[in-house]
């Protein structure tokens, strides 16, 4: 029996189009053309490394995450400073701007639903 994989992470949202556009612009999915696949008219999927992000339009969540610290998505990038410049150009909201810590560069931003997203460039 194979070991399970984290096949995907689902983000429930009241505004799937907005969230899809934000992740596609901010974090450049690995899919051809850097675009999300439309699974259904209100569900979109894209791959970020070995895991997919599913954005699912739902009615059992509010417009904004009431507990954003509960679950944090950590994305690794090759060039965090270039990524941060790119994100600043998009006008994203930062919880913690990019900073050097032991182990590498870390920054935390807030997606349009209020979820926390951490950007990491680990030192070699």
């Amino acid at each position: 029996m194979a070991i399970p994989t984290l096949g995907s992470i689902l983000l429930g949202t009241t505004n799937p189009d907005r969230l899809r556009d934000w992740y596609a612009a901010a974090l450049a999915p690995g899919d051809a053309g850097g675009v999300f696949t439309e699974v259904t008219p209100t569900m979109f999927a894209a791959t970020f490394g070995d895991t997919s992000l599913l954005i699912d339009g739902r009615s059992d969540v509010a417009g904004e995450n009431p507990e954003p610290g509960r679950v944090v998505l950590n994305f690794h990038v090759d060039d965090a400073r270039a990524t941060a410049e790119h994100l600043k150009g998009l006008g994203v909201t930062w919880l913690v701007e990019l900073e050097e810590r032991e182990g590498g560069l870390f920054g935390t931003l807030v997606d349009p639903d209020g979820n926390y997203v951490q950007i990491i460039e680990l030192k070699e």
Binding site: L6, I9, L10, A28, V39, G49, T51, E67, V77, D78
Partner: protein, 141 residues
């Protein structure tokens, strides 16, 4: 002499192409939460990091109030398995709370439970004809 063909420019997005490498879960009892995931997923407790298919699960101490997630459908972890009945057996042995018992859907067989902090955790045996982005990634067995 023939000039070298122009080198195509890299897509601009490649420098900020992001890989989802870790999920941090806040818990009132991080050690118990980590142990629950190891049991639920049938992972060895020898490895220092709890890694599932190339993604690390990290647990930090939180003082969440209320202790259970207010909106568990906000962020759902979907664990893909190749034997959904074995996964179900592990969850039953853990006395996990089922939100949705195993059900055949167009995406495959899916069941939903609560973890110890009230987050939704799904086990999925993907259907062979589900979209590639919803298939099992076989590279991290």
């Amino acid at each position: 002499m023939v000039a070298d063909p122009p080198v195509p420019e890299s897509p601009a997005g490649v420098r900020w192409r992001a890989r989802l490498r870790a999920i941090t879960l806040e818990s009132r009892s991080p050690d118990r939460a980590a142990a629950w995931y190891r049991e639920a997923l049938g992972l060895s407790d020898d490895a220092p990091l709890l890694t599932v298919g190339g993604v690390e699960l990290r647990f930090t101490l939180g003082t969440c109030d209320p202790p259970s997630a207010v909106e568990p459908a906000r962020i759902v972890l979907n664990f893909h398995v190749d034997d959904i009945r074995a996964a179900e057996g592990r969850l039953i042995a853990l006395e996990a709370v089922w939100v949705r018992e195993l059900e055949r859907t167009r995406w495959g067989i899916i069941g939903t439970v609560l973890d110890l902090d009230g987050n939704y955790v799904q086990v999925v045996e993907p259907a062979p004809d589900s979209p590639p982005c919803l298939q099992r990634n076989e590279e991290h067995r």
